[in-house]
C-alpha cells in the first residue's frame, strides 16, 4: 500500500502518523503543501497539528492550498483519505466532509484519553474492528465540537456515515462522556462513499503498548486489506 502524508507549515503530528503507517507496512511519502502533484497513493493522510497556526480558522488556509486541489481530485476518484484532528478540520473546510468543528464546549484546549465506540465497521477504515467495540483514544484539540444541520445529521445517522462516537468505558453514549460538545457524541464521520474519514481522536498515538495501547492498530491493519 502506498500512502502520502500531507505536510503543511504548522503540521505537528506528521512524523507520528508516518511512523504509524510505516510500522504497518505502508510505503509512505511526505508531501509538502506547495507541491502540485501527488505521488501514487492508495491512502492520503492529512495529519494533526496547527496548519498555518490555526489563523483565520482551523484548517481554513490549508483547505485552499495547492496540494489540497489534488487531494480533492484523488478523493473523487475513490482514493482513501484520512483526516485526523486538524486534518479533519481541513477536510471540512474543503467540503470533502460536511459539517463544522466548533470550539470545545468548555472553550478550552482539551487533551486526554477518551473512550469511543465503533459505530460502523463495514468500511475500509474500520473493518478490523467489531461493531460497538469500545476503544480508548487520545484527543488533543481546541475545536473538535462537531456541528451540522439536522438534515445532514439525520443522513449521517441513517446511512451509517458515523465512524466513532464518544462513550464511557462500557460503551454508553451520553452527555457526561461527550468531551467537547459534539452533536450526538460524534467523534468521526465518513463521506457518502465512505472513502473519506475525518476523526478528532488520534489513532496514530495508539499503536504502541509502552506509550498507550494498541487500539489504533486495527485501523491501520484494516486499511491494508
Amino acid at each position: 500500500m502506498n500512502s502520502s502524508v500531507i505536510v503543511f507549515p504548522g503540521s505537528n503530528c506528521d512524523r507520528d502518523i508516518a511512523d504509524a503507517l510505516e510500522k504497518h507496512q505502508f510505503k509512505n511519502k511526505m508531501v509538502w503543501h506547495k507541491e502540485s502533484e501527488l505521488p501514487k497513493s492508495d491512502l492520503i493522510v492529512i495529519p494533526g497539528g496547527f496548519s498555518y497556526g490555526d489563523y483565520l480558522r482551523s484548517g481554513a488556509i490549508a483547505g485552499k492550498s495547492n496540494i489540497l486541489k489534488e487531494v480533492v481530485k484523488a478523493a473523487d476518484k475513490g482514493c482513501l483519505v484520512l483526516g485526523i484532528c486538524n486534518g479533519f478540520q481541513i477536510l471540512v473546510e474543503t467540503g470533502l466532509l460536511k459539517g463544522a468543528l466548533l470550539k470545545n464546549k468548555n472553550l478550552k484546549f482539551l487533551s486526554k484519553d477518551v473512550y469511543v465506540k465503533v459505530v460502523n465497521s463495514k468500511n475500509k477504515f474500520c473493518n478490523k474492528y467489531k461493531e460497538n467495540q469500545v476503544l480508548k483514544f487520545n484527543i488533543a484539540h481546541n475545536e473538535g465540537n462537531f456541528f451540522t444541520n439536522p438534515t445532514h445529521l439525520k443522513i449521517l445517522e441513517d446511512e451509517g456515515l458515523i465512524a466513532f462516537k464518544y462513550c464511557d468505558s462500557k460503551g454508553n453514549i451520553n452527555k457526561e462522556n461527550n468531551p467537547n460538545g459534539s452533536l450526538n457524541n460524534i467523534a468521526g464521520i465518513f463521506n457518502e462513499n465512505k472513502n473519506i474519514l475525518g476523526m478528532m481522536p488520534h489513532p496514530e498515538r495508539m499503536v504502541d503498548q509502552i506509550i498507550s495501547n494498541h487500539d489504533g492498530v486495527p485501523l491501520f491493519a484494516g486499511l491494508l486489506n
Binding site: P9, G10, N12, C13, R15, D16, D19, A20, G48, G49, F50, Y52, G53, D54, Y55, K108, F109, L110, S111, K112, N138, A140, N142, H202, E204, R205, D208, I210, I211, S212
Partner: protein, 726 residues
C-alpha cells in the same frame, strides 16, 4: 541628545554605573549606546548580584557535556545521544500579561534548546500563584495555563509535567518558570561562540517590531502601582512561526554551514550579538537598515532593544548563504545577512553606512558590574508549638481537608489543557513523581521533574535548598530513573535587601551541598531577582528541574498500585516533623518553625537502595513521600489506581498526627508482592536501610485500622472538586 540623569534612571541604571560607562567609553554614550548598556547590564542579563555566588555550584560530572554559560546544558545519555535542557523564568511579563507572558516564556526556552541543534522533546513548568482568594489569581491562572498550553500545543511538543502552587506570597508577583528538554546527536551540538573573521552574520525568523523594548530591564525591577503601564514591554508570541523556525534551523544544521547560532531572547539583537562576539573574542559590525522590520520608521535604538520573538542570529561559513537562504524561504521566514564578524572587538552599529554606535564588546560583557551584596545569615527557627495544646481534629477530617485544598487537589484541570502525547514518546504523563519520555526509535528513556519548596526555603534557606535537590532526586528514582543532572531557576526578591540576599546565598549553599553529595551537577539555569512589589518580597523559590536516565522504557515504574494484597513498605525513618508541614498550614494556619532536616547520607543510601530493588524487578509501584507526609502519599497511590490500602497504626510512635502528617525527608513508599518480601528485606538489611511495613493493598477502601475506612471513590471526589468549583 544630552543624556540627563532622568534618562539614565529611566534605563534602570544607577548613577555610579553611568560613571563606569563613561569611563569605559572615554566619552558620553549616545542614547542608542546607553540603551544597549542598560540591556546588557541589567540584572536579568548580567547576573551582577548573583554571579559571584553561582560560581560555587558543582557543574562538572562524567555525563556533563556542557555546563552553564551556553544557551542550555547538555548531558551524555550513552550511545551517541545527548540531552539538552534548561529552565527559565518569565515571571514579570506573566504578571503583566499572563497569556503572552507565559507563552513567550515557553517559546524562549524552546529556542534555547533548539539553538543547540536539539529537537525539543518535552516541556515542563513550575507556576506559582497568589492566594486563590486574591482578586487577580483566577484570571492569572487561566491566562498562564492557556498561554503555556497555547504555545506548546501549537508547536507540537508535549507538556509533560510541572507544578501549580498557590501562596499569598505571590499575590503581587506570580512565578512562571518553563523548562524545555531536547535530544541531539553528540556530534551535532551547536554553540554560540563566534569563530572566524569576515563571516556573515545572518538574521533569521520573524520580523522585528516595537514589542518587548526594555523587557529585560522591566524584569529586573520591582513592581509598583505603575505596573500596568509596563504592558508594552511584554513580547507577543507566535508559536506557528516558532515551529517554522525550529524546522528551518534543524534543516540548516544537517550539514556544516553553521559556525555558531544564538537565539535572540532577552535584550534581543543586542545580547545575541554581544554574547556571540564576546565568547569568540571578536568584534561584530551590524548594518541596521537591513533588519527586517514589522513596523515603519523603526530607529536603531528600537531595533537593538526590541524583544520580538522567534528570531535567531547565525554566523555562517563562507559561501553557504544561498543554500541556507533557500531553506528559510521554503519555510516562509526572513533570512538577511545583516553584518559580519570583525577583529575590532567592538560592537559596531551602522545605519545606511553612517556610524550610529560603537562599544567595546568587553565593556558590555565581562566589564559589566559585579556586586558582592551584603547578606545576613538566617538562624534556624525554634520549635515552639505544643501539639497537645492545639484544637483536636480527627485524622480523617484532616486528610479530607488537605486532599481538597488548592495545593493538593488533582491538577487535571491544568494538565488537560496541555497536549501531553504528541510526538508519541510520552511513556508517563504528568501526575506521577516524574514524567518519562522515550528517546525516539530507541528503548531508553529519560525522566524529568520540576520541584520547589518555598515554605522550607523561607524558614531556613540552606536546608530548603538541600531539600529541593533531594526531592528532585527522589522523584526521578521513584519512576526508575538514575538521576543525572539538574537545571535551576532561582526566583528571589530584591537582592539589595541583605535578608533577601541572604536567602539567595544560603539557598544556593544548600543546593550546592546537596548536588555535590549526590553527584547531581547543575548544567544550566537562570536567576530571577526583584520578585516583589513595593518592597514586599516573595518567598525564596528556587525551582529545580531534574533529568534522569532509564536504560529501558520497559523498566519504568509509577505510583499506581498494581494489585490487591500487596505489601506497602516505607523506606526511611519517620520522626514526625510537623513544622512547615502542609498539615500545620492547612489545619492550623501555622507556618512557623524549622523545615524538616535533610540527611544527605540517608538520602543517598535510601535512593540507591530503591534503585537496586527496581533493577531486580522487586517493586510493583513506588512513590516519594513529600508534602503532606505519609498518609497523603498513601492516598495519592490509591487515587492513581483502583485500589485502596489498609494502613496499620505505627508501632513505635504514639502520636498519629506526627507519624502520618510529618514531612521527614528521604522516604519512599514501595508496593511489594508478598512473595518478594523476603528478598526485599534481605537486600535492605544488607544495606542498612531502615524500613517498615505500613499496610496492605485492598479493593475499594482506604482505611486506617481502628480509625477510619472510606471508599476510594469518596477520596477521588474530594481530591477532584477544587479546580472545578473555583
Amino acid at each position: 541628545m544630552k543624556i540627563t540623569d532622568d534618562i539614565v534612571e529611566n534605563h534602570g541604571l544607577k548613577k555610579d554605573e553611568f560613571i563606569k560607562i563613561k569611563s569605559l567609553l572615554n566619552r558620553e554614550p549616545n542614547l542608542l549606546e546607553l540603551g544597549i548598556f542598560s540591556a546588557m547590564w541589567n540584572e536579568h542579563c548580567s547576573y551582577k548580584s548573583s554571579r559571584i555566588h553561582l560560581k560555587n555550584l558543582p557543574t562538572k560530572g562524567n555525563q556533563v557535556i556542557q555546563g552553564p554559560g551556553e544557551n542550555a546544558g547538555v548531558i551524555d545519555i550513552g550511545d551517541d545521544d545527548a540531552i539538552v535542557f534548561k529552565i527559565e523564568s518569565h515571571n514579570h511579563p506573566s504578571y503583566i500579561e499572563p497569556y503572552q507572558g507565559a507563552a513567550t516564556g515557553v517559546g524562549g526556552i524552546l529556542r534555547d534548546v533548539f539553538t543547540m541543534g536539539a529537537r525539543p522533546i518535552a516541556l515542563l513548568n513550575s507556576i506559582h500563584f497568589g492566594s486563590p482568594d486574591h482578586h487577580k489569581t483566577k484570571s492569572l491562572l487561566n491566562g498562564v495555563v492557556s498561554g503555556i498550553g497555547g504555545y506548546g500545543n501549537c508547536i507540537g511538543i508535549p507538556t509533560v509535567g510541572g507544578e501549580t502552587k498557590f501562596n499569598s506570597t505571590y499575590n503581587e508577583n506570580i512565578l512562571v518558570n518553563a523548562m524545555a528538554v531536547g535530544h541531539v546527536k553528540k556530534n551535532k551540538i551547536f554553540y554560540s561562540k563566534a569563530r572566524g573573521l569576515n563571516k556573515s552574520v545572518v538574521y533569521v525568523g520573524s520580523k522585528t517590531g516595537r514589542d518587548g523594548i526594555h523587557g529585560a530591564s522591566m524584569a529586573s525591577a520591582e513592581f509598583d502601582e505603575r505596573t500596568e503601564e509596563k504592558k508594552p514591554t511584554v513580547q507577543v508570541g507566535d508559536p506557528f512561526t516558532e515551529k517554522l523556525l525550529l524546522e528551518a534551523c534543524l534543516e540548516l544544521m544537517k550539514d556544516d554551514s553553521v559556525i555558531s547560532i544564538q537565539d535572540m531572547g532577552a535584550a534581543g539583537l543586542t545580547s545575541s550579538s554581544v554574547e556571540m562576539a564576546s565568547k569568540g573574542e571578536l568584534g561584530m559590525e551590524l548594518h541596521l537598515e537591513k533588519i527586517p522590520c514589522r513596523e515603519e520608521n523603526m530607529s536603531p535604538y528600537e531595533m537593538m532593544l526590541s524583544e520580538s520573538q522567534e528570531r535567531m542570529l547565525i554566523i555562517l561559513e563562507d559561501k553557504k548563504e544561498d543554500q541556507a537562504k533557500k531553506i528559510f524561504e521554503k519555510w516562509d521566514l526572513d533570512f538577511v545577512v545583516i553584518g559580519k564578524t570583525t577583529n575590532t572587538k567592538n560592537l559596531t552599529l551602522k545605519y545606511s553606512n553612517k556610524l550610529v554606535g560603537e562599544i567595546p564588546i568587553e565593556a558590555l560583557a565581562s566589564n559589566a558590574p559585579l556586586y558582592d551584596r551584603k547578606w545576613i545569615k538566617k538562624k534556624l527557627p525554634e520549635k515552639k508549638i505544643n501539639l497537645k495544646a492545639l484544637k483536636k481534629v480527627k485524622i480523617e477530617d484532616a486528610l479530607f481537608k488537605i486532599l481538597s485544598s488548592p495545593n493538593q487537589s488533582n491538577k487535571n484541570w491544568v494538565t488537560e489543557q496541555y497536549d501531553q502525547s504528541v510526538m508519541c514518546d510520552t511513556v508517563q504523563k504528568s501526575g506521577s513523581d516524574a514524567a518519562i519520555i522515550r528517546i525516539h526509535n530507541k528503548n531508553k528513556a529519560i525522566a524529568v521533574t520540576v520541584d520547589s519548596s518555598a515554605n522550607y526555603c523561607k524558614a531556613h534557606p540552606s536546608t530548603g535548598g538541600k531539600q529541593i535537590v533531594c526531592e528532585s532526586w527522589r522523584n526521578l528514582i521513584s519512576v526508575g530513573a538514575k538521576p543525572v543532572a539538574i537545571t535551576n531557576c532561582l526566583n528571589f526578591g530584591n537582592p539589595e535587601n541583605p535578608e533577601i540576599m541572604g536567602e539567595f546565598v544560603e539557598c544556593l549553599e544548600g543546593i550546592t551541598e546537596a548536588c555535590k553529595f549526590l553527584s547531581y551537577p547543575v548544567v544550566s539555569g537562570n536567576v530571577s531577582l526583584y520578585n516583589g512589589t513595593n518592597k514586599k518580597n516573595i518567598y525564596p523559590t528556587p525551582v529545580i528541574g531534574g533529568v534522569g536516565l532509564i536504560r529501558s522504557a520497559d523498566n519504568k515504574i509509577n505510583h499506581i498500585i498494581k494489585n490487591e494484597k500487596n505489601i506497602i513498605i516505607l523506606i526511611g525513618k519517620t520522626f514526625g516533623h510537623l513544622y512547615q508541614s502542609v498539615f500545620f498550614e492547612e489545619i492550623y494556619s501555622i507556618n512557623e518553625g524549622p523545615p524538616p532536616e535533610v540527611n544527605l547520607t540517608n538520602e543517598k543510601n535510601n535512593g540507591e537502595a530503591v534503585l537496586n530493588l527496581l533493577d531486580k524487578n522487586l517493586i510493583s509501584s513506588a512513590h516519594d513521600v513529600s508534602s503532606g507526609g505519609l498518609i497523603i502519599a498513601l492516598a495519592e497511590m490509591s487515587l492513581a489506581s483502583n485500589y485502596g490500602i489498609k494502613i496499620d497504626k505505627p508501632k513505635n510512635l504514639t502520636n498519629l498526627f506526627e507519624y502520618f502528617y510529618g514531612e521527614d525527608q528521604g522516604r519512599y513508599l514501595l508496593e511489594i508482592e508478598k512473595n518478594n518480601l523476603t528478598e526485599v528485606h534481605k537486600i535492605l538489611r544488607a544495606n542498612n536501610i531502615f524500613n517498615e511495613i505500613v499496610g496492605v493493598t485492598q479493593e475499594n477502601y482506604f482505611e486506617l485500622s481502628g480509625e477510619f475506612k472510606v471508599n476510594i471513590n469518596e477520596l477521588y471526589k474530594t481530591n477532584n472538586k477544587w479546580y472545578h468549583n473555583y
